[in-house]
Amino acid sequence: MTSPRLLEIEGLKVHFRTDDGMVRAVDGVSIGVDRGETVSVVGESGCGKTVTAMTVLKLIAMPPGRIVEGSILWQGGDIVPMGPDQMRSIRSKEIGFIFQEPMTSLNPVYTVGEQIAETVRQHEGLSRKAALDRAAEMLRLVQIPNPSRRVHDYPHQFSGGMRQRVMIAMALSCNPKLLIADEPTTALDVTIQAQILDLLNETKERLGMAVLLITHAMGVVAETAQRVVVMYAGKVVEEAPVEALFERPLHPYTQGLIRSIPRLDLAATEHHRLEAIPGTVPSLLHPPHGCRFAARCRHAIPECTAGEPALREIRPGHKARCIRAEEFL
């Protein structure tokens, strides 16, 4: 028996009680992250990837949210039954978190230095002065020019990209073993996106931490991840090393996602229109019977709606939730 994985989410079910009924936002998801590894979770908006990520630190609103089933093992210990005090010692100290919206994720009334220092003081009990020095050091790490002066600036004095750097600095300030980044580049300009991804990759190398990267952009996945988990309608539909996934996607949904990446070499010709996956994500209030993707799938056959397909290992390290997966090999 080897040492436990850094993070092991097993059969996680998160439901939200709404006026219309129970929304099964996360419906039996299992994701594992090893030390120093970057795992990417991909999927459309509303597929449950953000809820999964937030649940790891119990940041979803409970109620209406509820962890119905499953476990979240952090270095072998289950987070699910933990009380608020134990959760606090994991948040930021062990697992850092970066949010999607850098414009609103910082408190506008405190300087960025104060906000970073607050985290450090909470977990390492440093003095105000030492914590502020650490904050400046972190700003230098995320390549913000003039860090010792900028710690005294307020969030509104930073651009979106710079604010995301501040968020990264804050998330890394206590040297977490895992960084969860929830669509860290979605709200940014394309040029800034690349910079932030580079920064994430660099700091990850330097600090030797693992990254769980939530995104809907396949391009981001290709650039950063070693392993990819594709989610659809609250379930994992495919999981594979990044090369294997791009080389031979085994789930029609993943295939569609990859086909929908704009490609410069094929752009703007009459015969190559950018492909989109038809239809919309099914309601998680009343998920369809059988395979949840069947209604939008170009390969669907009557058997697809007969029963829920299982997530099967089609080839070593490559799992897919499709009854016809072997045909795509």
């Binding site: 630190l57 010692s89 506008p108 009334v109 909470q122 307020y154 804050m170």
Partner: protein, 319 residues
């Protein structure tokens, strides 16, 4: 900042001038005459009355009277009351402390209710506490102070006979007894005003906190591993205070208006009852001076709101 203050104070001058012009004109055009009672007195011949009017400059055109008043004000001469024959500034200085104490205490009561109740209710929306607090707040600010004031008097003074229902400035007690009597007679006016304001602000604080509590940066604070109490105080209440402080400062003049009614009910000899008796007896210099003091208060609290706003929110800069 200093520059901003100076400029704001300079801007206040034309506002005050404008207000004084409007007040003066309205009062001059209003029917009624301070010498009306003399007209019905057969012992005073009409010539004496006319002479009296002329000597006081009441027959001059409005604009001339206005400038007379203005220059007198600038010299610090507020005129004297037609009715009580006392200098207006002395009259106001006599009455103002009582009003300030009653209003000040009631505002402290209001905030002491609104802040904790509003914050606590917002952190547990739709809980039993929240629903009770909401219902009470709704009742509280639906009932006008002249109604609750009478209700209080009926219950605490007439029925229970616990508290005096007339506010007296000539208490005969000394030492601790004096403070005790002072407290007893202040409780009802302070509570009536305080509960009313507190009810309105509770709802405002609750909604301000609810607005902040769902913002992204609060989730960030939670992800930082901060204790819930620190999140609430530093990251929720601190931000929610920005609109609350502004509202409180801007509402101050309205509170003074509300105090007029309350003072009348409890016979508190404050600036509000002074204004009412002056209006009833056509005592123009007193009306003019008291309303002008109110105007100054409005402008002062507006300035205070702006300064507090910039102090609480670093995104606002004074230019």
């Amino acid at each position: 900042m200093t520059q901003y203050l100076i400029r704001r104070l300079l801007i206040a001058i034309p506002s005050l001038l404008g207000i004084s012009v409007v007040l003066f004109t309205v009062l001059a055009l209003a029917p009624g005459d301070p010498f009306e009672e003399l007209a019905t007195n057969p012992a005073i011949p009409p010539e004496v009355r006319a002479n009296l009017r002329a000597s006081l400059g009441l027959d001059d055109p409005i604009w001339q009277r206005y400038f007379n008043w203005l220059f007198a004000m600038l010299r610090g001469e507020w005129g004297y009351s037609f009715v009580s024959r006392i200098d207006v500034d002395q009259l106001i200085l006599q009455r103002l402390p009582v009003t300030l104490v009653v209003i000040g205490a009631s505002q402290i009561v209001a905030l002491a209710i609104a802040l904790p109740v509003g914050v606590y209710a917002a952190t547990r929306p739709y809980s039993i506490f929240d629903q009770i607090a909401n219902t009470l707040a709704f009742i509280g600010f639906s009932l006008p102070t002249f109604f609750t004031g009478l209700l209080f008097i009926l219950f605490f003074s007439v029925y229970l006979e616990w508290l005096p229902f007339v506010y007296r400035t000539d208490l005969s007690e000394t030492g601790w007894r004096w403070w005790w009597e002072q407290l007893r007679q202040s409780i009802m006016p302070v509570m009536v005003l305080g509960l009313f304001q507190g009810a309105a602000w509770t709802r405002f604080v609750r909604s301000a906190v609810l607005d902040v509590i769902r913002l992204d940066h609060v989730t960030t604070a939670r992800a930082k591993g901060l204790p819930e109490s620190r999140i609430t105080l530093r990251h929720v209440v601190r931000n929610a205070l920005i609109p609350v402080v502004t509202l409180v400062a801007l509402q101050m003049p309205i509170v003074f208006g509300g105090a007029i009614v309350t003072e009348q009910i409890f016979r508190v000899p404050g600036i509000g009852s002074l204004l009412i008796s002056a209006i009833l007896s056509n005592d123009t210099p007193v009306i003019m001076a008291v309303t002008f003091v109110f105007a100054c208060l409005v402008i002062f609290f507006n300035l205070l709101a702006d300064i507090l706003y910039g102090w609480l929110d670093p995104r606002i800069s004074y230019r």
